[in-house]
Symmetry: C3
Subunit: 270 residues, 3 copies
């Protein structure tokens, strides 16, 4: 291999920590796959969006529903794979741990989470709803909804979703509908808009909400819930839902728009 | 790390897309592990067979039966891990998606699929049946059956099995026995032969067949089915088998030869 | 990428096989993440402890209990994920195969096993019990128990746990309590001690034991069992326990100390 790696002190040095680092040093950097590193020196590959609103967005995760009839079963990594279980109110705890899985190229065909999810220090999120199975080169053109925040809301919550969800656990019974809603931020639409596939009762993204049953959900894409039926438009969750039909990465089969139900939710940081 | 990766524009450049690319540039290249890249720039490691019939074969996948009594349960990634389910006629869809798993070195102890499976543009396949748990250095000597095609049949089907199975879905009820058989190619034996462990009613490899129950199977190693009991010698499948005993990566416990049942099926492209 | 990798013969050369190799060549090497390679040329990243007792320890695995109520269910990779099953006396066979999973950085939040587990030729083991979810930079300070062997016992058993467990299968019914205990070695404590969280009936680590029911367990941390109730302080196991409550990576909910039950067991070689 190269002279450095070829020697016996093969530590990876000086890799970027995020796509934003790369974009800031090389303004001409293009969309594509890059190698990044964590603070501890774990390197990994992911996709950088170097275009949207100035670029510098790092793909850190995707939520993919592999079986809408599976209720907290295999593949429901963003809620629970252990079955709907009152003894596991936090389920698999994926939103707030360092476990990683999947690959960037398969992030529309399977769940994905890379070390950037917990390592990058970011200010904003960008969210793409891309139809399942689309290949990387078609993501931008095929996305049914794309939006990002500009409020820098992550700065107040530890710099990423890992820290945000440590503060606001996705845990059954840890709070009430309305009174214990987690952070929310207004969004700017890049593809689709509030009157389009996003329902758009309001143009927000909101994290960690509870429904009327005290079931916890992780993320309401394009919404700031005003009612207590968040299971119809939020995703991810804890490991227990009093209505077992809701347990799963996509909590409802009757999400607002079918195009969204059959899409994967890709999460970027900047 | 190296000067390029050490800078902040750490994109991987100029890696080979396949073992054949390497062999064509370096005729003396030996069997072993190599780093390859996809068109999008995802790099990965796999084993190259640089010997058989001129070499240039890339290991892209393996089918391993972890529990012959598990019926479409955990570990049955090439059929379904969700249980035998009429609502999931395509099961986990592994034959036709970009999800990857496992490692080359463990491909006789677990299922394996790397990005080459969907990325490489190939003409032929090579198939090795290697006893479970054999270590990489013993694969060639311990294989109970090895054969390859020379018909270049993949050229007509998109250049790899990913595209072939998009055209011929491994899906319960999508066709009938005999009338809807997928592509078939004659094979050349490298280890074993048609009178040996391969049963050898005919010397073919056939993809996507249906049995009398309309259950779909992905690959019939060494065979072109003439009867409708393909579950006895084909592997992989959709997510529903009317006879639930057949659901799994290895559809039958009574496969023609025990040595094959206790082997992993390694798939190579060239 | 670099000149070498950028060419079409991208094989990784001259990487170290273990953290000890690195330490011996570079005495000043620090704790952290390094790139290693197997004999076959598979490279991987892991954590090196370059400090304890002279350093040179390679992290090769961790055993993490994701759900103490799950009985040989999803996540129980070090026993069985297939349910308590008399037909699977060896369970997933993780202790004696080459399957790998997880990542070093997530080894306190999920099971971990890298190629070093089966590839490195070692003499001794070091074991850290680190509270679940602790981040890598806090492992040393937060560990509730750390110890290592100095007896070089692995030399007699093939140089690593992979070979040791090939010789002493973690298999229900393969032996009897007391008479068929596997290898044992005295230990030296680095954090905690025999009167501390280690219970310390004796200061040993013992591999492959059976309880009164002939159920097999893989590793008894800090112990040399003298009774036949090893399920109370041993971890890992085969795929069948006559008392189904014991089936799982952590065999008992009533392990001696709660601090240990809520910790992950990190395994190092030197």
């Amino acid at each position: 291999m190269n002279p450095e790696l070829g020697r016996y002190h093969a530590r990876l040095r000086n890799l970027a920590r995020s796509c934003l680092d790369i974009k800031e040093k090389h303004n001409g950097a293009q969309d594509g796959m890059y190698v990044l590193t964590t603070e501890s020196g774990t390197y990994y590959q992911t996709f950088c969006d170097m275009t949207t609103a100035g670029g510098g967005w790092t793909l850190v995760a995707s939520v993919h529903e592999n079986n809408i009839n599976g209720k907290c079963s295999l593949g429901d990594r963003w809620s629970s794979q252990q079955g709907n279980d009152r003894n596991l109110p936090e389920g698999d705890e994926t939103w707030a741990n360092t476990v990683t899985f999947g690959s960037a190229e398969a992030s529309t065909s399977d769940d994905y989470k890379n070390p950037g999810y917990y390592d990058i220090s970011a200010k904003d999120v960008s969210v793409w709803h891309v139809p399942n199975k689309e290949q990387l080169k078609s993501w931008t053109s095929s996305a049914v909804l794309r939006y990002h925040t500009e409020s820098q809301f992550l700065k107040e919550h530890g710099g990423n979703l890992y820290h945000l969800f440590k503060k606001y656990p996705v845990k059954f019974g840890a709070g009430q509908c309305k009174s214990d809603m987690g952070p929310s931020s207004p969004v700017v639409y890049d593809t689709g808009d509030k009157d389009g596939p996003s329902v758009g009762k309001s143009s927000f993204v909101t994290f960690r909400v509870f429904n009327a049953d005290q079931a916890a959900m992780a993320m309401c894409s394009g919404h700031k819930p005003t009612e207590c039926n968040s299971q119809h438009y939020c995703i991810g969750g804890g490991g227990f839902f009093p209505d077992p039909q809701q347990c799963g990465d996509f909590t409802s089969q009757e999400q607002a728009f079918k195009a969204l139900t059959q899409s994967s939710v890709l999460l970027f940081y900047r």
